[in-house]
Amino acid sequence: MSRYNQGTLTVSSSPHVLDNTTTSRIMLDVIIALVPAFIMSGVVFGSRAILLTITCVASCIVFEWAFEKVTNKENTISDLSAVVTGVLLSFNLPSSLPYWMAVVGCFVAIAIVKQLFGGIGQNFANPAITARIVLLISFATPMTTWPLPNQLMGAADAVTGPTPLGIMNMGGDPAMVPSNIDMFLGFVGGSLGETSAIALLLGGIYLIARKVIEPTIPVAFIGTVFVLALLAGQDPVFHVCAGGVMLGAIFMATDYSTSPLTTNGKIIFGIGCGVLTIIIRLFGAMPEGVSFSILLMNILTPHIDNLSRRKIYGGGGRK
């Protein structure tokens, strides 16, 4: 029989078998988890919401491809992370936002926040959150003009109005605040992907079941918001379902590269997000604070990671 030797055999370091999880599979799972909220955005805000999401996804892919082309880096659009960023950014925008502004946001997210810092895994802040904040500051009026639900395709002039949190923030008539059922299903004003708590929860359960995320951060985040709202004498269910808490806690605060590695770190991170959100909502000038709280905690992540280094086997953890 023939002998097999040097040159025909592959020699490599162990292990010689690997799990079949890949980065693109993880991103695909996130996209699947976002589908219920995507459908609800179409039901609640009509085709304009769907078109805005498609615009964001397309421009994120184009910016990622173009940046890597120009800088001579390896093309990474197949890892689907740009698609996720596009969907998440669009979910944070009012469905009536002019398309070109959304494209500007995509540029900020992909080219500035993600690629300038070294691409996937290297960014210190969540691209979609940061882009949303840049848009909010740059285009304050269109970014806070909220179409009300059930504006179907073809409606020339969409009716706009305040979001539930906006009503609260202006000290408005409590009777104007929608019912918790409407809030839970998502038939309220707001960013196009954030309104339906049930759709986002479904996605979250899928991600946890697929072991893409751990429940630690969402539970700590949402739990903190709930408890603090209760302590402040407000309706905790309202605060949990309103604004971007669900979207932020499940999909944005759990972003791998911008959240801590260890369980203890994740708990600190989640609680921090919840505390900042409630502080901004109750005492700040803005009606909503999820984006700012996540961005602030993103910046603290390396420090949380350093402080929450876990004890190794045998106990000799921090030295």
């Binding site: 002998r3 055999l9 020699v11 292990p15 799990d19 993880i26 190794i312 045998g314």
Partner: protein, 436 residues
């Protein structure tokens, strides 16, 4: 370590125990044997035979004066053809004794059960049997059985976890040599003065748990423990924690925590020597993998070339692209199938092109899967970043030297980073720094 969690982190790895119902087949004698003088951790052996000598079955052909070493025996009768340095599977130059087999299998005169009556004579016999850690580590057993603080040791853990995929050799040993195993445990307990023995077997080997459990049910000192069928339950520190809840601090030995761990095959080999006087000359090996025509468990003489062993399993089914000595998680990929079987081999796995191909590495996304998987609770992603910038101080702080290279981190990595390999390099880098 959390007091809420009784288990160390572990991962699910596909078991692929295809050969568990394959009784051990005995292989015919090859024409030539290639016996390496480096078959254990510690001092290499010096050949005690010369070219042209006639050797017999059971004869010592290599030994060393050093304490941490074990003699090497011939498994055949025949003539020493050459003693030459050859590149071994580890990539270093080893003296290899080549014996042309006369196929008469004449047994050395004077092979008889050793006289054992106390600890000293027992340890001497264990050394003479040539037994080393057959689970893979190849640490000389007589050294392991003789720690400075033996009086503090109260428990013998018998490692029958066999957590590596594919390998079923230890399982077959437990099923086919159960008598020898139980007697080996009793002998070892008696002479080392140990009160308690725990046979730890992964739950996926139900028949072995049942069989051994039945055999020791009247024996108060010996218990059979069922481990979770996860990887790496068979790693020394992990098996100690899972069975006794004891922690072996970094830099310490199991004996410091009152336990000695021994693999099932090592104990069987020791008992065989005690009963017959025949030292360790053969090994039960699982031959499997996508490139092997008929996967089998084979009892093979140490020194048999791998291609002969594969031939006995009806040869290759497909062109092999990767051949592994040991399991797929920790085994070594070899560069030549003419290399011979050594003592601590427990499997030869041959894989075709499809399996040998390595997926492309992508950027780390900080998902933390490696950190969650590490049984020693290290942070592989942080370690590899520290190694990337050659930060020795950070690596020491991250306790990289505790890594046992189990491969769990690489296995779970979605970016397909070779984290385990990086840890290996980082450990070496830290060790080199210590010398300066």
């Amino acid at each position: 370590m959390s007091i809420f969690n009784k288990h160390l982190p572990a991962i699910h790895v596909e078991h692929h125990k295809n050969t568990s119902e394959c009784p051990t087949a005995k292989m015919p004698l090859p024409d030539k044997m290639y016996i390496s003088m480096v078959q254990h951790i510690g001092a290499p052996c010096q050949p005690t035979v010369a070219v042209g000598d006639l050797v017999k079955v059971g004869q010592v052909i290599g030994d060393s004066e050093a304490f941490v070493s074990a003699p090497i025996h011939s498994g055949v009768s025949g003539k020493v053809m050459s003693i030459e340095n050859t590149m071994s599977s580890v990539g270093i130059w080893d003296p290899i004794v080549t014996i042309s087999v006369d196929k008469k299998q004449e047994v050395l005169e004077g092979i008889a059960p050793p006289e054992v009556h106390d600890k000293e004579s027992f340890l001497k016999a264990v050394r003479a049997s040539g037994v080393v850690g057959l689970g893979g580590a190849a640490f000389p057993t007589h050294v392991k059985f003789n720690p400075k603080n033996l009086d503090e040791v109260d428990t013998l853990i018998i490692n029958g976890a066999e957590c590596e995929p594919y390998i079923t050799a230890d399982y077959r040993t437990m099923m086919e040599d159960s008598e020898l195993l139980i007697n080996g445990i009793r002998t070892t307990m008696k002479y080392l003065g140990l009160k308690k023995a725990i046979i730890a077997i992964e739950a996926n080997k139900e028949p072995a748990i049942k069989k051994l459990g039945d055999m020791v049910k009247d024996d108060e000192g010996i218990e059979v423990f069922s481990l979770k069928p996860m990887y790496p339950q068979g790693a020394e520190r992990v098996i100690i924690y899972e069975t006794t809840g004891r922690v072996v601090p970094p830099g310490k030995l199991p004996a410091d925590s009152g336990v000695i761990v021994s693999n099932v095959s090592s104990l069987v080999a020791i008992q065989r020597y005690m009963e017959t006087g025949m030292p360790l000359i053969s090994k039960r090996i699982t031959v499997d993998g996508t490139a092997i025509k008929t996967p089998k468990n084979v009892e093979v003489l140490i020194g048999t070339p791998i291609n002969k062993l594969v031939e006995f399993c009806d040869g290759y089914r497909r062109v092999p692209k990767k051949i592994i000595m040991g399991g797929p998680m920790m085994g070594r990929a070899i560069y030549d199938d003419g290399i011979a079987v050594i003592k601590n081999n427990n499997a030869i796995l041959a894989f075709d092109e499809e399996w040998a191909e390595f997926p492309k590495e992508t950027a780390c996304i900080n998902c933390g899967r490696c950190t969650k998987a590490c049984p020693m609770m290290l942070m592989p992603t942080t370690i590899f970043k520290a190694y990337d910038r050659r930060d020795r101080e950070a690596l020491v702080k991250l306790n990289v030297s505790l890594c046992m290279e189990c491969g769990s981190c690489s296995y779970v990595c979605p970016a397909k980073k070779q984290l385990s390999f990086m840890n290996k390099l980082a450990k070496q880098f830290v060790a080199e720094g210590g010398k300066k």
